[in-house]
Amino acid sequence: MTIAIDRRQFLKASAAVGGGLALEFSLPVAAAPAKGLPPTEVNAWVVIHPDDRVVIRIARSEMGQGTLTALAQLVAEELDADWMKVTTEFASPNEHIRRKRIWGSMSTGGSQGVRSSQDYVRKGGATAREMLVAAAAAQWKVPAAECKAEKGVITHGASRRRVRYGQVAAAAAKLEPPKDVKLRDPKDWKIAGKPVRRLDIPDKVVGKPVFGVDVDLPGMLHASIFQSPVFGGKVKSVDAAAAEKMRGVKKIVREADFVAVVADNWWRANQAVKALKVEWDEGANGKFSDETILAMFREGLADPRLPEAKKVGDAATAMAGAAKVIEAEYASPYLNHATMEPMTCTAWIKPDGFVEVWTSTQNAEASMAAAAETAGVPLEKVEVHKMMLGGGFGRRGAPQDYVKQGVLIAKQVPGVPVKMMWSREEDMRHGYYRPASLVRMKAGLDAQGNCVAFEAKIACPSILALLRPEAIQKGIDFSAVRTLNDMPYTIANQKVDYAMRNGHVPVGFWRAPGLQNAVYRECFIDELAQAAGKDPLEYRLAMLKPGDKNRLVLEAAAKHAGWGTPLPAGVFRGIAMSDGFGSFTAGVAEVSVNPAGELKIHRFVMAIDSGHVVNPDTCAAQAEGNAAYCIGMLYQANTVKEGRMVEGNFDTFQIPGMTEMPKVETVLVPTGGFWGGHGEPGALSFMPAVLNAVHAATGKRVRTLPLKPGELKKA
């Protein structure tokens, strides 16, 4: 079962719904497939059908961020394809391994989808184009240089001959690929750089089964799982007497740290899981709570021998000589990714030992490795079918816990495919959470209010320690210290120390890992501007070198938002900036707070310089999505009690809704020459801009998230 994106049925999306849209191009209208004639793989990225349909292979995952379409645009651009004939398919991870990782990285995180593969996917398209042109030229016995490719047609000007890609693809595939291909200057782009319609949307509006949870195979069974409520706990005993008798139940699975029920539909499996009486060996973790975690962070901040994440100048001496010293402590809780689609994995251990897995994954190779290891087979004996993700945000990349569980369960019913899906409660209580943290910052200002010394101590669990320990350098996890140890601000004396305090809660990459530091830093800079009696925009600009791209986006956001111009009564602005994930961003928020303390975010202007822009509309959508994702930080927290997560569903871990959404205006200011991401950078400046606006509105500094009830109420 491969899930190819099928857009054939969507002829031109009707203009009757409003017309006059900024989006370019209609959705492709592919010709009916010619019967019997096989397509040709011109190279790993480009497959061409005799009827000219072009299938572009996509190695990265699609979780709504638009990477699938952007990558297809880049290949199609260099290929000079007719965009209306382009479709996509995910490259097979099994074939990837067998062909010596021909599709490069399959990992989709860190806003890397486009920026870390653009070079080789564009070369893939350009190489295929040259081969097609060469094949046509050979057929006509003319020099290739006299031929031109455009929209899937090759022409020879002098003789006015023309041939379609579909007619020469088979011959082209037999040619030696050119060694060096020249890539197009982005200023000449015709398909890339344009707001073409996303290729995955038509299937998604008719409810086609494209997600991991939608997998359906003949004879498939369903599984629901229950994991140790205390992280790290083990199963001690299971009383399955009641569950076994329940309708549809096929198998009770007991593993070291979870139990599961396999049944003929998911609801029955889940009902039976709830009927299991499980005794857990909770180990030592049952004693931990938010209080013990905070105490651990405090102990970390007090540790005199912390590794340094940054040291320039002499912060201590400069601080001692400062006219004014400002000090503040900021804190955040653990946060679940809360993808709308819960963790899910369908696994099938076939009679010949081959393992097939269908899953929503941000990293197909990691899923493959997890499945192979769990099943005890080599990678070559595993196939992972990449499904559309119902949200990823970092949850489905490095941790492949759900794939391991899916395969473990399938091993108990060999020969039968089993679809395991977590309940929302499992998903909420068994995340790889955005780390909680406590950060103390201190700044020394001179008599004019200029910041001459900056110190930060960061107590935060390390994501790398859990998921990629080899990446830790000298005790520093870059994702825990970034934004504080790599400030663009020209402060002469800086010292940043990192207290790695890991605790027992699993942590992971959560949209814009390290994001909390951007919140702390940019709110603290606002405090410094206030102490200096200066405008927060001017204060920042004075600390940025001329030509710094942070300056450019800060100025662009301020200009677009009308910084300094009058606002309606009761509405206040806040500003923030942060680079990250290859891009530079700045944001201006407009908020109001009523006397009851209710906060309304009216507008958010986000300026971003990502170097190049492949699809402006999906970039804007990412800005909107980042804002929505971050609003939740105002009230979300996963609280720890007796070693376990308290919140179990959206009633206690609330997801921002329609009424909370501000007007989001995205200002794209690409300066060219580099490739930055879009999936995460938009998250960086949202919350600090909002909190700085809250201060402007109320005079209150919010330094600990989430907000406490009544915190913004007028005293």
Binding site: I201, A628, F650
Partner: protein, 158 residues
């Protein structure tokens, strides 16, 4: 056997009467467009129409559905696409898309009651949750489907 009418077709399903409609649709009838998000009537991912009303199918017992007309995303706008689906494509509403079946079902129900909904009407009716933050586009697409976006505003806002 429970007799169900879904998207104009009659099905006989052999399930417990207290099984939620959501799971009958997904696992028995293989209509996978309707999604599970929370199971506690919080997110709206499972929204379908029962006799024209939007209902969170995760909390609707299948035993209570006998004799009622159920419409899911798969049955919407047949033949072809409903104007909401067209507007959703036109305005590139979905990101991951997981919540969108429920969103569209809620939007269609809203338009049936209020053909020209105001922003306040949309706020009130569209309580579905979207982790990807498609809200501004949901709003715009509803207005567009209601014929309330002039080309000029559509172009400006896009």
């Amino acid at each position: 056997m429970i007799k169900l009418t879904v998207n104009g077709r009659v099905h006989n399903v052999d399930v417990e009467p207290d099984m939620p409609l959501l799971w009958v649709l997904r696992d028995q009838l293989k209509l996978m467009g309707t999604k599970y998000g929370c199971g506690i009537a919080q997110c709206g991912a499972c929204t379908v129409h029962v006799d024209g009303e939007p209902v969170t199918s995760c909390r609707a017992k299948v035993g209570d559905m006998v004799g009622r007309k159920i419409l899911t995303i798969e049955g919407l706008g047949k033949p072809g696409l409903h104007r909401i689906q067209k507007a959703w494509i036109e305005h590139e509403v979905p990101q991951c898309g997981y919540c969108q079946s429920g969103m569209m079902m809620a939007a269609v129900a809203l338009l049936a009651k209020k053909p020209k909904p105001t922003d306040a009407d949309i706020d009130e009716a569209m309580t579905n949750l979207c982790r990807c933050g498609s809200y501004p586009r949901v709003r715009k697409a509803i207005h567009a489907a209601a014929g309330q976006l002039s080309s000029a505003t559509a172009a400006k806002k896009a």
